[in-house]
Each structure stands twice: as C-alpha cells, then as structure tokens.
Point group: C2
Chain length 112, copies 2
C-alpha cells in the first residue's frame, strides 16, 4: 500500500514550505481513511511518494479520479500567511490505498 502526494511545481515553493504542504495533505487524507486501511498501511511502513503536479487544474482532475476510485484524498489550500496568496491550492494526497489503485490515479506523474 502507499500514499501519493502530488505537489504543485509552478508555485516556486521553498523546500520547507513544500514539505509542510505535503505533510498537511498526507495527514488530511489519512484522517479520511478507514481504520483498517490505515493500520495496514502503517504496518507496512506507511510508504509515501511525493510527485509533481504542474498546476491547480491537474490537482483537481486527479482528485476527481481519486474520488471515482474510492480512494481517500485531500486537496490542500494554503492559509496564505507566508509566500502564497490565501487559498492557493498547493497539494493533493491520494490514499493510502493499494498500489495498483493509487497508480490508476497518479501513475503517470514524476517523482518530486
């Protein structure tokens, strides 16, 4: 099992900012995950991959696809206290879920 987190490459986020947004997305999707799936994923070492998304539209399209696959997911908007305008979409987490199902949503993206 794995969780994929897609972060935007077009916002010029610094490394720390990027990491915080990815963490936020990861946590939010995990909260949306059943206890059974969560425990299985955690038992396997809670694999996470961070992937590149080229813009807001891409993230929303992937979120729709995750919804159709029945995967937990979370779109993150930045509070805008630093670096970005308030409400900027920064990251999307998909899963945890079975690798092959997550790959149906994010399998075409490159590693960040």
């Amino acid at each position: 099992m794995k969780q994929a987190i897609v972060a935007r490459t077009d916002l010029g986020m610094g490394r720390g900012k990027l990491a915080a947004q990815v963490a936020h997305a990861s946590l939010s999707a995990v909260e949306d995950t059943s206890a059974t799936v969560r425990k299985e994923w955690q038992g396997e070492g809670q694999t996470k991959v961070v992937l590149k998304g080229d813009g807001e539209r891409t993230l929303f399209e992937l979120a729709d696809r995750a919804e159709r696959e029945g995967l937990p997911h979370a779109v993150i908007r930045d509070a805008g206290r630093t670096q970005l305008d308030p409400g900027t979409v920064t990251a999307l987490a998909v899963g945890p879920g079975e690798d092959r199902v997550v790959d149906r949503v994010t399998g075409d993206l490159s590693l960040y």
Copy 2:
C-alpha cells in the same frame, strides 16, 4: 498551537524525499497526541513549521527536550529503499502543542 518538524540538513535529501520524511514525522507525532490537543490544533488550521537540524545528535537532543516538556514527538528513521542507508535518522516532529512550549524545544532553529 503548532507542530515543529526538524529535518536534517546534512544528508543532501532531495525535495521530495525531504517532504516525505517531514510528512512521516508529522503523522507519527500526531498519532502520539491526545484527541483533545489534536482537535484543537486542527481547528486552528494545523500549523506546521519545518526547521533545520544540523545532524542526528541534534535531533536526539531535541527529542529528549520534547520528552521532558511532555510534548508528543516522533523520530523518523528512513527505511533506506532510496537515497539513504537503512535506519538513517532523517526528521523529528515536536508537537502539536502550545506555541510557547514547542518554542522551548525548537525556538532556536531556523526555518528550512
């Protein structure tokens, strides 16, 4: 309230790797947090800051300090499937907790 995640600067982690380790640390410390504190932090927008730690020893010292302050915390070791040797300590999450208490542990560190 906030959570501080301290990531090592001396490992040459790429941006995606760094983000995944930070997310791992964040999630692990949240699992170690009482439901009351977790809900309060999430209700406030689950503020996270990512900070620079200069090496393994620093992370362990900060973890000890977090323990003494009674803050949830988690030290992350990489599984070593990519980039790093197995068991390499990569990140430490401190909190969520009250800002002033978290700052007693990580207040001297720079933003990543």
